[in-house]
């Protein structure tokens, strides 16, 4: 399988979370999977400016020229994606959210009714399912986990895919994440 990991850790130096991701990558590779891993905070990545150039000027292309293009390519050509991030004030990091906003480039502007709601149609044939890998904060509670689950389920509807799991590095080994990701 081809797997894309978006690491939203805001710490650019050594951290437990990024060490975990490094080990996770090794475990995937041992099992013959191909992994692209991006530590977002270490890359040159802008935020989505909401210009709609990707929808009505150069369809499918983001006009902000930075490191995002390799992420778009990796994402849309993957079999599975992992959104990985420690929680900050109850949600995944701003780095991860900024690139998630820009993934809109992968959708088509046309609107359809899905789930009895308005949503955008597909631009590509297939969209990868994803898993959400978090590190809990000291005060993370059930309500926070529910909010995360709900919002990433919504993301899945918008991005024509399914959320396969929400798991935490506090409770799961790297091996368990590999199994959960490949068991699709």
């Amino acid at each position: 399988m081809k797997i894309t990991i978006l690491n939203g850790d805001l710490e650019t130096k050594k951290s437990d979370f990024s060490d975990y991701i490094e080990e996770l990558v090794k475990q995937f590779q041992v099992n013959n999977h191909i992994v692209d891993v991006f530590h977002l905070k270490k890359m040159e990545l802008s935020y989505c400016h909401g210009c709609w150039n990707c929808w009505w000027k150069n369809p499918g292309l983001c006009s902000t020229k930075d490191d995002a293009e390799i992420i778009f390519k990796s994402y849309i050509n993957s079999d599975f994606v992992i959104f990985a991030s420690p929680l900050y004030v109850g949600f995944t990091s701003s780095s991860l959210k900024k690139i998630s906003d820009r993934l809109i480039v992968l959708l088509h502007p046309y609107i359809e009714i899905r789930n009895k709601e308005s949503h955008h149609t597909k631009r590509y044939k297939n969209y990868p399912d994803f898993g959400l890998l978090i590190k809990e904060e000291d005060d993370t509670d059930k309500e926070d986990i529910q909010i995360l689950n709900d919002i990433y389920d919504r993301f899945a509807i918008n991005f024509h895919c399914e959320k396969r799991y929400l798991k935490s590095v506090n409770l799961n080994t790297e091996k368990e994440i590999v199994n959960a990701s490949c068991n699709i």
Partner: protein, 221 residues
Amino acid sequence: MQVVIFNGSPRRKISNTKLLINSFLLGYKKATDTKVPVYYIASFNKKEEMLNAYKNAKVVIIFFPLYTDMMPGIVKEFFEDISKFKNYERKKIGFVVQSGFPEAYQSIFVEKYLEKLAKRLKLNYVGTVIKGGVEGIKIMPAWMTKELFANFTDLGEYFAKNNEFDDKINRKLRKPYRMSKIKRILFSIFSKTGLTNFYWNGNLKRNKAYEKRYNRPYAQK
């Protein structure tokens, strides 16, 4: 400094958010002479000034567009920044979330997050206003946006008097909450005529990009 507004749209001065804030302030000014500063979260060169304004404000209102079912990444960054002031002072905070899709339902998940955020930061939460169907308001004829702007003006006037949102207006703005069956049927009929994509097709054609609308530039297989 009493009330401070933050505009969380990445589009800043050309945002739909700005139009809604303008209407809100129009109403606000009817009730009081107090000036309300507006900061653009996307103006990163003013970050320090912005965080100071947040720190000193008694009442904070954050307006933002819904971005992939949540606040935009830059607004998340702002939340991370202000979380440093956790025990700073007990202040009031309210939010206005507006979205492209018409249903308010699309924004109720971020609303839950916002309520929890206020609790986490020990702020006094005054609620979240939700309004769908906002994309395109800039090009709509005045008769189509008249009611929307009037509602935001009333919302602003009420806020100036009570330091909270008017529940009645908020309920009105949250319509439609979901797509009714009739609307869904009408939508599928109109979609066959191309009417539902009128906004996108108009812009695609204007940019001579209509023929390229199905491009898949990032596909490798």
